[in-house]
Symmetry: C2
Subunit: 205 residues, 2 copies
C-alpha cells in the first residue's frame, strides 16, 4: 500500500459520491424542509443504493448532522466576514448577516436548531462548539465597547444578545406565526440593537 496521500480510484469515487449525497441532502432540506427528507429520495437522486448512504454516513442522522455542520460553517463564514472597524457597526452587521442568512436559508437554519437525535443520543460536540463560536462573535465588539466590564460578564452579555437576535429572527420569519416582512424585520432588529446599546450606555455611533 502506498502510504503517500495519493487518491486511489476508490477514494476518489467515495469522495465524489459523498459530496453528491451531501449536495442532494442539502438541497432537499433547503427546498422541502428537514421533515420531508427521506433516505430513499436521497439515494435515488444520487443514483445509488440505500445502503451506500449508510456506508458513507453510518445512519440517517449522520447525513443530517453533516449537512448541519456545513450550515453552521457557512453561517460562521459569513458572520466572520462582517467588517470589524467600528464595533457598533459590527454588531449591526452581525445581526443583519444573521437575518440575511435566515431569510435565504430558513429550512437549513431550522434543521440546525430543531433536529433532535434519535433515542437521546448525545448531540455532537463539534457542532455545539461551532454554534457557540458563532454566537460568541458578538463578544469582541462588546469588549471594545465595554472595556471596564468583567470579562465573564461581557461574554454572557454577548450570548444574551445573540440569543435575543436569534429569537427575534427565528420567530419573526416563522411563516406559521404571522411573519414580519424581512425588510421591516431588518429595521426593527437594528432599532432593537440600538436600544439595547443605549441601555448599556453606548451611543449609536
Amino acid at each position: 500500500m502506498n502510504n503517500v496521500q495519493e487518491e486511489s480510484l476508490r477514494e476518489r469515487k467515495r469522495i465524489q459520491r459523498r459530496v453528491l449525497l451531501l449536495d442532494i441532502g442539502h438541497r432537499l432540506i433547503a427546498t422541502k424542509g428537514l421533515r420531508s427528507l427521506k433516505v430513499r429520495d436521497v439515494a435515488e437522486a444520487a443514483g445509488c443504493s440505500i445502503g451506500s448512504v449508510y456506508n458513507e454516513f453510518g445512519d440517517f442522522d449522520g447525513l443530517i448532522l453533516t449537512v448541519n455542520r456545513e450550515t453552521v460553517q457557512a453561517l460562521t463564514k459569513r458572520l466572520t466576514a462582517v467588517p470589524t472597524g467600528n464595533p457598533v457597526h459590527q454588531l449591526h452587521g452581525l445581526a443583519d448577516t444573521y437575518l440575511a442568512f435566515a431569510t435565504e436559508h430558513p429550512n437549513l437554519l431550522r434543521a440546525l436548531f430543531e433536529h433532535r437525535m434519535e433515542n437521546d443520543r448525545p448531540f455532537p460536540e463539534d457542532i455545539l462548539l461551532m454554534v457557540m463560536e458563532a454566537f460568541s462573535l458578538m463578544h469582541a465588539p462588546l469588549v471594545q465597547l465595554l472595556p471596564d466590564r468583567d470579562g465573564e460578564d461581557v461574554a454572557q452579555l454577548a450570548r444574551m444578545m445573540f440569543s435575543a437576535v436569534h429569537g427575534i429572527i427565528s420567530l419573526g420569519l416563522e411563516e406559521r406565526m404571522v411573519a414580519v416582512p424581512p425588510e421591516q424585520l431588518r429595521q426593527r432588529l437594528a432599532q432593537f440593537i440600538d436600544t439595547h446599546l443605549a441601555g448599556l450606555g453606548i451611543s449609536p455611533g
Copy 2:
C-alpha cells in the same frame, strides 16, 4: 333525539376517553419528548385500540396539536396571572413566568414551537392566535411606560421584546447548547430587560 344538552352514555364515555388520551399524550411528551411519542404507546396506555385515537383526533397530528393547544393555554393562564400594578415589575414578571414555565415544561414548550405539520398542511389558525395573544402580553405595560409612542410601534416593540426573551430562554435552557443554570439565567434575563428598558429611556423603577 333530545336536543337538550344532556350527556348520553356515548358522549360521556367519549369525553372520558378523550381526556384520558390527552392526559397520556401530555405526559408522554413532557417526559420523553415529542419525538418519542407513538400512537401505539398512547393507545396501549389508554387501554384502547389504535383506531380510537384516530376516531377522536382524526390523525396523529390532531392529538399533538390538541396537547399544544393546552400548553399555550396553560402558559397564557400563568402569564395573565402576573400582577399588573407596576409596568416594569410586570415585564419582569412576564419574563420570569415564561422562564419558569420553560424550566418546568421544556418538552411541552418545544413541542409547541418545533412541531411541523405533515405534508405542508397549514398550521391551525387558533393556535397561532393564542401564541400571538401570549406574545402580546407585553404590550399593555409597554403602552403605560411609553404613552407618547405610536401604537403600532409599541406593538412591534412588545413583540420584539417577547421574541428576544423567548430566544434567550429557549437557547439558554437547551441542554444541547451548554445550558445556563436556571437561576443564573433568571438574573441575566432580568438584567437584559432592565438594560433594554434603560435604552428606551425608562428607569428600573
